[in-house]
């Protein structure tokens, strides 16, 4: 099969407008004849579901939390980008497009990214109309701050709780449609299988997390807004429940997985401090507006940071990247932090931390201004570390944060399975090898509010109205698959817990397929995961039954999929012999230790096709062409 991204012809700035005109429409009276399944209630899923229901479609929505309002988008802190140019600092749609393409190290599609930048402005309008209380200036107009990888201020924010406030917006739009009877909501329900009939997605199989009931749901199309899979590393900034199950099961039914190894490691997180730690906490990138990153110039300097004089501090980001300074993109910042720590300059008990210092900013802007901008972040920091960042610098270290990889989708957000769509972090579309800060929220909402609701009609219009009954053998087969998986797991009475397996997998991935990767480390990863997976299916200790709320079973199902998925990540990482963005192959670096791309051989999206358990996946390449930007070695110096 050849991959067709369905990118419209024409000038970059006109593609989306022209494409919308060319797409088929469905008249309002006929929309109610179509049923659509949306899995996920994050910004992507909830915005799509609400908008589709407003348009008249019948929508069923699923999430594993007890309420749609708790999807992990809620935890996004720093902000959301838009090319409004309210600050009159030279921003434009083209600049946002360019920054995003460059930030992604030229491994994303021009057309998709341009459309994202174009739509960014509508998102802010929509959110404000819903009552999202973004920060404002004294005159009452919207305020902005700067994020990494940009030299303009285009990030809209609501304290350090932008994701929460945006999600309350989508949740309220969704709630309104539930009240209207256009959306049926299924919380505490986990999708375990995609059902395909004649090659098209026609429904899903779910497990009710309270009763254990395995149920089939049919529809004309299925949307996955199921988030990222960073939790494969066990320790990450993701929520505890984040998983790859929905995307992975879709992959097994024919959806190609694109750039699975592209994982963002965020530079500013609270360092690991205990072996029982269950998750890592982000300290928003917005802090780098005012916080300065440094380590002591002398490796042996064990003084309290406040006692180390200015001239004995190495502000290494400002030194190495004078034009972007502390606001270099995440991949660049993370690698620099790792480098100085690897060289022995790290601080704190473990030596795996650097300082993020607000001393100067507090002097310059005043304590109140700093509290106003970051109060809740400083509070989170204090709760976890018992240290007051107003009085002494924060200690930070990189942590797994986001997955740029995801299900391959075309320009219409359709996967390689007709009728199956992927939105938000679950798809691979816009961020290439590295996502810029404040662009994840933008993409999730662009997909859900403005792109998918328009493109899906083009597909639905080709389908008959009749639904396929859940009595169809394909549903029964999928139910049996799910039940078999569950029974197989529940039969295991070994002596290692699912968390122990998950932690081991996480460590393998972090050490061998994390911030830096090499032929040798990836080979080790592959061997170790294989052994771990075999042990999992023999020595897992399970309790309880399916017919009840069983959190051990929920975790086991997710970890089983992580164990499979991690192997594809390693395969992808080892096939891409260049470095690009967050994917750093030790064999491919510049003299200064920066990521070195190999455009001649790797200017493509790697899309993997599943072949069956324990069979090598087949690689498909979607060549990337750049007509509007020039491929350059990224420089933030």
């Amino acid at each position: 099969m050849t991959l067709d991204a369905k990118i419209p012809n024409g000038f970059l700035a006109e593609k989306w407008t022209q494409h919308q005109f060319n797409l088929k429409l469905i008249n309002p009276a006929n929309k109610r004849k179509y049923d659509i399944i949306v899995v996920g209630t994050g910004l992507a899923g909830a915005s799509a579901a609400a908008t589709l229901a407003e348009l008249g479609y019948n929508v069923k929505v699923f999430c594993f939390q007890d309420s749609a309002r708790r999807a992990h988008s809620v935890a996004a802190q720093g902000g959301i980008n838009a090319a409004k140019n309210y600050q009159n600092d030279g921003d434009s749609i083209f600049r946002l497009f360019y920054d995003t393409i460059k930030g992604g190290d030229f491994r994303a599609r021009e057309a998709d990214v341009y459309r994202l930048a174009e739509i960014s402005n509508n998102i802010i309008d929509q959110a404000v109309a819903q009552g999202v209380p973004f920060a404002r200036e004294y005159g009452g107009l919207l305020d902005n701050h700067s994020f990494g990888g940009a030299q303009v201020s285009r990030t809209f924010y609501a304290k350090g709780q932008t994701g929460q406030q945006l999600l309350i917006g989508t949740y309220s739009a969704l709630s309104r449609q539930i009240a209207n009877g256009k959306v049926k909501m299924f919380p505490r329900t986990e999708m375990l299988e995609v059902v395909t009939i004649d090659g098209k997605a026609r429904g899903i199989v779910t497990r009710n997390l309270v009763t254990g009931a395995i149920e089939s749901h049919n529809a004309h199309a299925v949307l996955l807004g199921t988030g990222g899979y960073g939790n494969i590393y066990f320790l990450s900034t993701n929520c505890m429940g984040a998983n790859v199950t929905a995307a992975w099961q879709a992959h097994k039914k024919g959806a190609f997985f694109a750039n699975p190894s592209f994982t963002q490691i965020h530079p500013t997180c609270i360092p690991v401090h205990d072996r029982h730690q269950s998750k890592l906490t982000l300290m928003s990138e917005s802090l780098r507006n005012d916080g300065r990153v440094w380590v002591p110039k002398n490796r042996e300097d064990k003084r309290h940071p406040n006692d180390i004089p200015e001239n004995e501090r190495d502000y290494f980001l400002e030194r190495k990247y004078p034009s972007f300074g502390n606001l270099v993109p995440r991949d660049v910042a993370s690698r620099s932090v790792k480098q100085v720590c690897d060289q022995g300059y790290g601080v704190g008990q473990t030596g795996l931390a650097v300082y993020l210092d607000f001393g100067k900013a507090i002097k310059r802007r005043g304590m109140d201004a700093i509290k106003h901008s970051y109060g809740n972040l400083f509070q989170i920091y204090e709760k976890i570390t018992n240290e007051n960042a107003y009085e002494m610098p924060m200690k930070i270290y990189p942590a797994v944060h986001y997955t740029m990889g995801g299900l391959w989708v075309d320009y219409n957000l359709m996967t390689t399975v007709p009728g199956l769509y992927a939105l938000g972090e679950a798809n691979f579309s816009d961020h290439g090898g590295n996502r810029l800060g404040a662009s994840g929220l933008m993409q999730a909402l662009a997909d859900g509010y403005f792109i998918l609701p328009r493109t899906i009609a083009d597909y639905l219009a080709t389908l008959p109205y009749d639904k396929i009954s859940t009595e169809h053998s394909a549903f029964k087969e999928a139910e049996d698959n799910a039940k078999n998986r569950i029974n197989q797991l529940l039969a295991l009475k070994g002596n290692k817990t699912v968390d122990e397996f998950h932690k081991e997998l996480g460590l393998i991935m972090w050490n061998h397929c994390g911030m830096s990767r090499s032929e040798a480390s990836l080979k080790t990863a592959k061997e170790k995961i294989k052994v771990l997976e075999e042990e999992f299916w023999e020595n897992l200790s399970m309790v309880g039954s399916n017919e009840e709320l069983n959190q051990t079973l929920e975790k086991a199902l997710r970890v089983a999929d992580f164990l499979e998925m991690s192997q594809l990540m390693v395969t992808d990482a080892s096939h891409r012999k260049e470095s690009c963005g967050s994917h750093f192959r030790e064999e491919s670096q510049t003299e200064e230790g920066e990521a070195k791309r190999d455009d001649e051989n790797f200017t493509y999206v790697a899309a993997w096709e599943y072949q069956g358990k324990n069979k090598s996946e087949v690689l498909h390449k979607e060549a990337l062409t750049f007509e509007n930007v020039k491929l350059t070695q990224r420089s933030y110096k």
């Binding site: 309420s67 708790r70 309008d125 973004f134 709630s175 205990d274 309790v543 709320l549």
Partner: protein
């Protein structure tokens, strides 16, 4: 450090529950409260026993999923935080800690420490939104909003829907939760059009779900992890009275 736990165990909504004793030796005071429960659960699993079921997801105080009643207080004795933000350093060697689910009739227990809070979702569905379809919004800067109003609206919108206020209230009143939403939207110019019907519908749904009356004891605000202020309840009452008067006037 050594900690004694008394934890509510209940197989499901039909089976009666009871407090069960556990002891953890040698745990690090640096870990979080939920990580302590993780350790307990690992021990239980190793013994072939069922782990303690509890709700949690973000573990950083923002999703509102965790819902533990610790030593007789919603989210524990520290103010302004959720249970997932609580750390063992707040406890002493040999302490006995009681851990229970939210206790309120409209929040039935599903299992162990997990309760059903869907009543909150239904209250929002009754009217906790501004009716604006996708694509119909004017430019975001078309309506300036003063910094003070934006700040106050934000402070109300800060509610994470955890239900601690209900669990803290002797009447199981949901007034603070409802007031936070009513206030958030009533403060903003965008929320004016539906202001009256919103408050009426949300209060009606709140009553229908069986939440108790508000007798102004203030426990809700005191226990709220986001410090939602009682002044929002005052605003809710004002909004509700105005709405009632207006609808009487109309009918």
């Amino acid at each position: 450090m050594k900690i004694h736990l008394k934890i509510w165990r209940q197989k499901n909504s039909e089976t009666p529950g009871k407090m069960v004793d556990y002891t953890l030796d040698e745990i690090s005071p640096e870990i979080s409260f939920l990580e302590m429960l993780d350790i307990l659960n690992e021990d239980l699993l190793k013994k072939g026993e069922e782990p303690v079921a509890f709700d949690h997801d973000c573990r950083e105080g923002i999703c509102g999923m965790c819902s533990l009643y610790i030593n007789g207080r919603s989210h524990g004795t520290e103010q302004g935080i959720t249970a997932c933000q609580l750390h063992l350093r707040s406890f002493k060697e040999d302490d006995t800690i009681y851990v229970e689910p939210w206790r309120a009739q409209p929040f039935p227990v599903i299992k162990d420490l997990i309760v059903d809070r869907s009543a909150f979702d239904r209250i929002i569905q009754a009217g906790g939104y501004i009716s604006v379809n996708t694509g119909s919004a004017p430019d975001a800067n078309a309506i300036p909003i003063s910094r003070e109003v934006a700040k106050e609206a934000f402070e109300a919108a800060d509610c994470i829907g955890c239900g601690a206020c209900v669990a803290a209230c002797k009447n199981a009143s949901a007034m603070l939760f409802v007031a936070a939403k009513v206030s958030h939207l009533a403060l903003l110019p965008q929320g004016q059009v539906e202001k009256q019907s919103r408050v009426e519908k949300m209060v009606a749904q709140m009553d229908k779900e069986g939440f108790g009356a508000c007798t102004n004891t203030g426990a809700c605000s005191y226990e709220c992890p986001k410090n939602i202020s009682l002044s929002h309840i005052a605003r809710l009452n004002r909004e509700y009275l105005t709405a009632k008067l207006a609808s009487k006037h109309l009918s």
